[in-house]
């Protein structure tokens, strides 16, 4: 925290941002761009459902295309929010209080974008309820052995828990907005949303325990979600996919890309809302750059381990899969991935680079491009399997591209609404870690 704010200053600054009478110009401009794109998403999804998934570029041999790449990419981005809110809470990292609220919001919106893809990829979306263990007319039950079903449970649970976690954190801050409301409508809306919160210690003691429990269960959850996502690949018998390294490798990649997205959004928030600079400081950005460097090294290590194991396995198909990755028809994607994910984070060895907003912003975009290509490279393993007669190439169609771009519209529309109407920094949590907030002799 910079500027040594008092309790009242914190309330004024953060709640003030959510209470602005005049909507700033930048908000209208950004909304004006993102909303049409979100509407386009609706249109292309409608087009897809009407025509079937033949409008995508998927075919034999590449039966999985951009949809699963986008799904894994968006879920991965979401993981940083949970990591910040849950794992850093358990580790008592006080600096997280400034960034956890909007990182959690990012999680929710990213998981919404992610969840769209498995939902629309099923072809006959009107019978998607077969995925749920519901009694049906055919007296069938889902196959619990299938990673795709695990995925549905993992991602569904993840979204629900993230939403509950986010809302629990919001309750005291919604009460702040209620108590500051100037007119009856706002009083009623925030009065209802804050559930009659009155800041009593008999409330805080249950509240704090609930928060701790949510952090405690979210921590293994976030690790399990991306592990389960990786089993979609790892339980198959395809060379290049059938490896035990996938779960940890996917989790590290998820944290890597998620922190990059938090940096991107934090820098944008600092530019359009200079009031937040005292809360989202250079120190926060620098710490996140360090996380990116560490997880980037893990990801790079995983890439090299894959190659080593392919060689060490002495299995020609496994070896071929990896040589083909780096030097085959999709080599361009592989080297984009290596450049963005392994080389880019190395600049963060230098403090000067970690403290330059421009460098951080560009690097965070690079990391997210690189992580998209990582998933693309993995999925494209499909294009050459055992039989050369069944080899092929994959090209996305305009529907693939429009759907992916459309999810950005959805993400930013939701995020802009969040920036406009909700306290973007956890007011009560920031207050609790101010220098004089706790009584002397107690810590």
């Amino acid at each position: 925290m910079l500027g040594n704010p008092g309790l009242h200053d914190v309330t004024e600054t953060i709640a003030g941002l959510a209470e602005r009478k005049e909507t700033p110009i930048w908000w209208w401009v950004a909304m004006g761009i993102s909303t049409p794109i979100a509407i386009m998403l609706l249109a292309v999804v409608g087009y897809l459902i009407w025509n079937g998934i033949g409008v995508w570029g998927v075919n034999n041999p590449v039966g999985w295309g951009w949809a699963i790449v986008n799904f894994v990419w968006w879920v991965g981005i979401g993981h940083a929010g949970t990591l910040i809110s849950a794992i850093l809470h358990l580790l008592r990292q006080k600096w997280r209080t400034s960034i956890n609220r909007f990182a959690e919001a990012m999680t929710l919106f990213a998981v919404m974008c992610a969840g769209l893809f498995p939902a629309i990829h099923v072809g006959r979306i009107w019978v998607i309820y077969y995925m749920f263990p519901l009694p049906n007319q055919m007296a069938m039950w889902p196959n619990w052995r299938s990673p795709l079903l695990w995925d549905m449970f993992a991602v569904g649970t993840y979204f629900t828990v993230s939403l509950l976690f986010w809302y629990t954190g919001l309750i005291p801050d919604l009460a702040t907005l209620r108590d500051r409301a100037k007119n009856l409508t706002r009083k009623k809306i925030f009065g209802a949303l804050s559930l009659g919160w009155r800041g009593g210690n008999r409330q805080w003691k249950h509240y704090e325990l609930a928060y701790l429990i949510l952090a405690g269960i979210s921590t293994p959850l976030v690790l399990s979600v991306h592990s389960v996502v990786s089993t979609d690949f790892a339980t198959s018998i395809l060379p290049g996919w059938h490896t035990t390294i996938f779960p940890p490798y996917f989790v590290a990649g998820a944290i890597f890309s998620g922190f990059a997205m938090v940096i991107t959004l934090a820098i944008l928030a600092r530019i359009v809302m200079p009031e937040t600079k005292n809360y989202i400081t250079m120190d926060h950005l620098e710490k996140m750059a360090k996380v990116i460097m560490v997880t980037g090294l893990m990801v790079g290590y995983a890439y090299s381990t894959e190659f080593f194991i392919a060689w060490y396995s002495a299995w020609e198909y496994e070896r071929f899969a990896f040589i083909n990755r780096a030097f085959g028809p999709f080599a361009w994607a592989y080297w984009i991935m290596i450049t963005c994910n392994v080389l880019t984070p190395q600049i963060f060895w230098f403090k000067k680079m970690r403290q330059s907003v421009v460098v951080l912003f560009i690097a965070s975009i690079f990391v997210n491009i690189g992580m998209w290509f990582e998933r693309f490279v993995i999925v494209m393993t499909l294009h050459r399997d055992y039989l050369p007669s069944s080899w092929g190439y994959y090209t996305p169609t305009w529907v693939d591209i429009a759907t992916y771009i459309g999810t950005f519209g959805l993400f930013f529309t939701l995020f802009l609404l969040f920036l406009r109407f909700v306290p973007i920094i956890a007011i009560a949590e920031v207050k609790a870690v101010l220098p004089h907030a706790q009584p002397h002799g107690h810590h």
């Binding site: 008092g6 309790l7 009242h8 309330t11 263990p133 007296a139 069938m140 039950w141 889902p142 196959n143 619990w144 052995r145 079903l149 695990w150 449970f153 569904g156 629900t160 828990v161 509950l164 976690f165 629990t168 005291p172 702040t176 209620r178 108590d179 500051r180 009065g191 559930l195 009659g196 919160w197 009155r198 800041g199 009593g200 210690n201 008999r202 409330q203 805080w204 003691k205 249950h206 509240y207 704090e208 325990l209 609930a210 429990i213 949510l214 269960i217 293994p220 399990s224 389960v228 089993t231 009560a428 949590e429 207050k431 609790a432 004089h436 907030a437 706790q438 009584p439 002397h440 107690h442």
Partner: protein, 181 residues
């Protein structure tokens, strides 16, 4: 309209900062009050001890529900795959419990989260209509105000003596929580 009789539901006193509040809480505890609480914009460490509060039961509730959910989904996966709709896939046993662990885990987590949040909301006894909201000054509680409230239901509540006591232990802006409904 004629002014109706206003009922006193309790007393609210403001304190100057967390240090004063925690001292006041210890004195309230020693005086033997039961229906009282301290209110602050954020949780204050050590307040449970000062108030003589017991640990929250929420942990037990969550553990019980997680166990129940875990056993429930274990039985459900067993019944659906080994009893009601048996089929062999990739040569695995009907009840392939090892492959069911991700589902088992997700259901345990889901039930724990629901119990943690809704259990907490139940335990905190939140009310849209609570006597403390009669005070206009109380709006500061979510900003920078620290308060002690005593409800009239408390056996040792006395309209005059309790008010004097709250002033003695350092309370300012001591006011009756009164409403006509």
């Amino acid at each position: 309209m004629e002014a109706t009789e206003r009922t006193t539901y309790g007393i609210l006193a403001q304190f100057d900062g967390p240090d004063k509040l925690i001292e006041a809480a210890a004195k309230m505890r020693d005086k033997g009050f039961k229906q009282w609480d301290v209110h602050s914009p954020y949780p204050i460490h050590g307040m449970d001890g000062a108030m003589g509060e017991e640990r929250s039961r929420l942990g037990l509730m969550v553990a019980a529900m997680a166990l129940l959910g875990g056993l429930g989904i274990l039985y459900f996966t067993y019944w659906t795959s080994a009893v009601d709709y048996r089929f062999i896939i990739s040569g695995k046993p009907y009840f392939s419990y090892i492959a069911y662990i991700p589902i088992f885990f997700a259901v345990c987590v889901l039930l724990s989260a629901f119990t943690a949040v809704f259990g907490m909301l139940g335990l905190v006894n939140s009310k849209f209509h609570h006597p403390v909201f009669y005070s206009d000054n109380f709006a500061k509680v979510t900003d920078d105000g620290f308060f002690v409230s005593v409800l009239a239901e408390d056996p040792s509540f006395d309209k005059v003596q309790t008010k004097t006591f709250l002033e003695e232990i350092g309370g300012t802006n001591v006011e009756y929580l009164e409403g006509d409904d």
